[in-house]
């Protein structure tokens, strides 16, 4: 494309009255569609049409000079090696998605088990502490003393006595002989004593009644 035509500098020679007529919407659409300015259009619109024509002109040699480099880059990007390199992140993405899915499933199953109290005792205790789910059903190894025998002396430190840990080394509180009665008092033996029921007597007003 040549640079001939009405250059912007040439436009200053036109009368101002002709140059400053406003550009209407229809004329603007004509310019945007690259149909040029109308024959009787002001010189500024003619110049604008020329500027747009130059801007949308055919490609210059400089713009197309890097074709070989771009084609080489395309070949490299679509070659099997390039495809493998590009596929690696996809594999990693898939692996990460699978890992997340498995983790979410494990969490869901664990939460359901914790809510229903089916976790192992220790895990249920942890879940009870952290999440407030129901406590484990069986007794724990550390349990406060609920019943104290009359002869029992409180610990001098004020720390409540605990059950001796089975297999713990002798010495300290664990060395004391266990007192199961003090820890978990068994309920008193229920003797079958029933209140004495008076004998049934005949009702005086109901005939036939016993």
């Amino acid at each position: 494309m040549s640079g001939s035509g009405a250059s912007p500098s040439e436009m200053s020679h036109f009368p101002r009255r002709l140059l400053r007529r406003p550009l209407g919407a229809a004329a603007a659409e004509e310019l945007l569609a690259r149909r040029g300015a109308a024959p009787g259009a002001p010189a500024s619109q003619q110049a604008l049409a020329r500027v747009l024509e130059i801007a949308a002109g055919p490609p210059t040699g400089r713009e197309l000079a890097d074709e070989a480099a771009y084609v080489a880059a395309f070949v490299l990007a679509t070659s099997p090696a390039g495809t493998r390199r590009a596929a690696l992140p996809r594999v990693l993405r898939t692996f990460a998605q699978l890992t997340l899915a498995v983790a979410a499933a494990v969490l869901a199953v664990g939460a359901a088990a914790a809510l229903t109290g089916r976790l192992p005792a220790h895990a249920q205790e942890v879940a009870h502490t952290i999440l407030g789910v129901p406590a484990p059903h069986h007794t724990s190894r550390l349990q406060p003393v609920t019943g104290i025998s009359p002869g029992h002396q409180p610990h001098p430190s004020g720390v409540p006595a605990v059950l001796p840990v089975p297999g713990a080394p002798p010495g300290g509180t664990a060395a004391r002989p266990p007192k199961p009665a003090a820890v978990m008092p068994s309920p008193p033996a229920q003797t079958a004593v029933y209140p004495k029921i008076p004998p049934v007597r005949a009702h005086p007003e109901i005939p036939g009644a016993p």
Partner: protein, 220 residues
């Protein structure tokens, strides 16, 4: 859709928004006569490098001019990144010419936007590439230089507009997209696109009407 309302192919040649006429470019005439845009897209998606070269020649000049307006000093670098992304995603691309152009310029717009955001956080003065110093001489070097200068001057005049107006004008005039496509790419309403283009053209006309010494003082 083809530019300007879907101009049908003439003798097998599609309208080119860059040349403004139907028919092949001056390069690789034989290849151009065999290709159409959908066929070239399909072939390039399967790794055909000649088809990719055809697509590149069709779209790259407009892409470069668009980037000279919206990402001026780094237009070449951004264009290279966009084409690399195109090359990697072409095998998964589905659509025809309008979808391809929308994809191309959406990628370019996103890259340019990222570059502007990065540049605002990391101020750095980029310089233009050396002009024609490392280019082989053509048959008519003087004419080629004048041609390039005229194009650059026209683009710089458009780039002096507020960015959204300049972007809309380039997409409509240089790339050949219609209002709906420009609205889709820029994320604006068609009415806003039309208003921005008209305001930009009025500003340009006013600048061209102003005396040479006052052109830069025209209110945007």
């Amino acid at each position: 859709m083809l530019p300007h309302g879907g101009t049908p192919p003439v003798n097998g040649h599609y309208y080119s928004p860059l040349t403004g006429q139907s028919g092949p470019h001056r390069r690789n005439v034989a290849l151009m006569q065999e290709r159409d845009f959908p066929g070239a897209l399909r072939a390039a998606a399967q790794g055909d490098e000649t088809a990719f070269a055809w697509l590149w020649r069709e779209a790259h000049p407009a892409l470069l001019r668009y980037l000279q307006v919206v990402a001026s000093p780094a237009a070449e670098d951004v264009a290279a990144e966009v084409w690399l992304e195109i090359a990697r995603g072409l095998a998964r691309f589905r659509g025809g010419e309008p979808e391809f152009r929308a994809w191309l310029f959406t990628l370019a717009r996103r890259r340019a936007s990222n570059l502007r955001r990065y540049s605002s956080r990391h101020p750095e003065q980029l310089t233009r590439d050396d002009e024609e110093l490392d280019q082989p001489a053509t048959d008519d070097t003087a004419a080629a230089a004048l041609e390039s200068l005229a194009t650059r001057a026209a683009l710089e005049l458009i780039a002096s507009l507020p960015q959204h107006q300049a972007e809309v004008i380039i997409l409509r005039v240089v790339v050949g997209l219609d209002v709906r496509q420009v609205a889709q790419i820029t994320g604006r309403r068609p009415g806003a696109v039309r208003v921005a283009a008209h305001r930009g053209l009025r500003t340009l006309a006013a600048r061209l009407a102003a005396p040479a010494g006052q052109r830069h003082g025209v209110t945007r």
